[in-house]
Symmetry: C2
Subunit: 249 residues, 2 copies
Amino acid sequence: MAENGTQRGRQRLADRVRLELEREIVVGDLAPGVRLDEVGLAERYAVSRTPVREALMQLAASGLVEMRPRQGALVAAIGTFQLAEMFEVMSELEALCARLAARRMTPRERDGLAALHAACAPYLDGADADGYYDMNLRFHEAIYAGSHNVFLEQETRKIRRRVSPYRRIQLHRPGRLADSHAEHGQVVAAIRAGDQERAAQLLRDHVAVQSGTFVDFLSSVGRLPGHESDAPQRPAARAATQRRAATQG
Amino acid sequence: MAENGTQRGRQRLADRVRLELEREIVVGDLAPGVRLDEVGLAERYAVSRTPVREALMQLAASGLVEMRPRQGALVAAIGTFQLAEMFEVMSELEALCARLAARRMTPRERDGLAALHAACAPYLDGADADGYYDMNLRFHEAIYAGSHNVFLEQETRKIRRRVSPYRRIQLHRPGRLADSHAEHGQVVAAIRAGDQERAAQLLRDHVAVQSGTFVDFLSSVGRLPGHESDAPQRPAARAATQRRAATQG
DNA sequence: CGGCGCAATCTTGTATACAAACGGGCGAGG
DNA sequence: CCTCGCCCGTTTGTATACAAGATTGCGCCG
């Protein structure tokens, strides 16, 4: 409707490039801080620079890519401080989603949410964090959709996508998966019961806790991307950058 | 930091075009639904199509412009339904800003906010809605900044910009200015007192009321932009479109 | 007389060519 | 030996040329 900008068109090269780049960034194939050379990407996708530029700008607008005036584009490296800010907003938006979902979800949607929650369980045993991550995403998005507010749904999803490169790792903490699942269970119960305030509070805490564990993780490792997206790797020669990007993709 | 995409660069043509277009849209010189022809804008700003395209895409990403796949760009015409959705989100984000501002604002910031509130008063007598509108904006933005969450500040501002083409008119309702000012006063008091919940609730209601009055206004006039941004005026010939755009600018 | 299909024209999407600016490396001077 | 400044290569920003899709108007057929 809005934030996606030009999304409905199905065969534009710029969109194809954008979707592919977005996927690689969100999945983690392109790490934060990596330089995105226009001609390199153009060669890689066998298109000209024009669609690549368009894609980069769209991604910059969505926050996944940072474009410096005449210095090119990098995969956005979000500092710990900004990340905390984003979690603060995201927890509030998700809480709003939960509140509205508790109020507006149809019985069918409530059942679907419970089903999604149940579908997360199998991944706990195998400690399949990646598998759980995907189901977890679907669970949260079901709540977004349950708000019956498409704009809210999209905004929340946008922020989630934006922090997703940094969230994946945190679920690998021992015991976090089980805790997360248990918290989901409480949220489902509150939503099914139509308890708006409880649903909101539970999901807010759920997200905020993840934020907390994330910050813990960061400080334990010793500050990953830096406070101000500095030290973004020196590109040295263009060929090297290009090869690295290709390897990572 | 992120959503602005390429904002720091000061002398890029694309940015110049983007800022100018954004201003005209927000101010209302370019009405929702108006077609934005690339070559027309290029001639108008004496640049080539490339920067114009970039500007349009940036605006599309920010939601002020709607780009249809191979049909060009229009000034985004937000339907009443989506508008209501956006107000729902915005009231929540502003409430969050107020809550955080009540908690985090420095004494100096609190004084500044009160000063801004006071500065709004003179516009009430003359019924200068436009003047009040500008001061009102600065007042709200001071609260955003007071949250000390730059990301939240920017997101909230982005949404406000996006609905601003539709908000301007509503302040012309008789008595609304005075009510708005009174509500601001309560918000200031709550923030100065550090009463987070009260500040949040007051600002949420303040924004929600505006939403309500807006919907009232729309239904009284009979639904302005349509439910799904349809009927966007036929451009007929290109020359005509161009001339119209130029006239409005 | 009305509806359908074709074709011309305009508009967008993509590619390429050109210009300007940033960064790094080299050399000269202190 | 270090530092400052210039020069060159690389990369982005802009302009223009080309291709393809869409809309509109006209003509033809029912």
